[in-house]
Subunit: 116 residues, 2 copies
DNA sequence: GTAATATATGAACAGTTATTCATATATTGA
DNA sequence: TCAATATATGAATAACTGTTCATATATTAC
């Protein structure tokens, strides 16, 4: 390593990048959101909840897997604020947290040319 | 588990979810994109490249870490089509792949209230 | 209060992944 | 051709993560 042919240009970009880099905590929070949806099992839950709110039993029906695994996954999605929960009697009813979630899903699906 | 108080409604949603669930391959591809940006080290590279294209040396300068680690990370981002590379003499110059990447970053930053 | 149902959670194990180290490849200049 | 520079990559290891199993909590009906 050393210097490249675009020394001035790239060095300026690198300096600007350092100056504008979000702090470690913010980078970590953004990364956590992406991590929450980076596993197929959790991604399927989000795809499923596009159809409307559901209790855990029906989420399991929609995406497969065991109740325990789905429950763990729901917790991660909830901690990343991708979904929200409300209790309704014996059930906990889950739904997408806000419009950002759908927007991001749609953007990325467009990116990989996946029709949803 | 069994039935919940919203049996009809949730069951319909679950059935629709199964019917509209992308196939395993597409879910995997979307998940792979998210996984690529779910690690702080890789996320920082994307934040850095917002300032313009850079060669590896300057990316290392901007985000820290070793040349080898950054090179491995660049490969993952490239495979996920988040960044693109072109050779320029001895250097490989990297840049964000397309407008989707920035758009997704901005959406998620808004979501977690991180100013970028 | 007790039984039944729905959901959550802690611990452990298996599988995955990020980094490091050493080395390989590719380009340039002499 | 040889040396120097820039970047990439394979293997190994340490850290992390998803799932399973067993169990806990919360709500409802009796």
């Amino acid at each position: 390593m050393g210097t490249c042919g675009h020394e001035e240009l790239h060095h300026l970009a690198a300096e600007a990048a350092k100056a504008n880099m979000p702090n470690e905590e913010d980078v970590g929070r953004v990364a956590a959101v992406f991590k929450a949806v980076s596993e197929p099992s959790r991604l399927k839950i989000l795809f499923a909840l596009r159809q409307g709110e559901m209790c855990v039993y029906h989420i399991v029906e929609a995406v497969g897997g065991t109740q325990s695994a789905v429950s763990h996954q729901l917790r991660m999605l909830r901690e990343g604020r991708m979904i929200k929960a409300r209790r309704d009697g014996q059930n906990i009813v889950y739904s997408l947290a806000d419009e950002h979630v759908l927007a991001v899903l749609e953007l990325v699906c467009t990116h990989v040319k996946c029709k949803i």
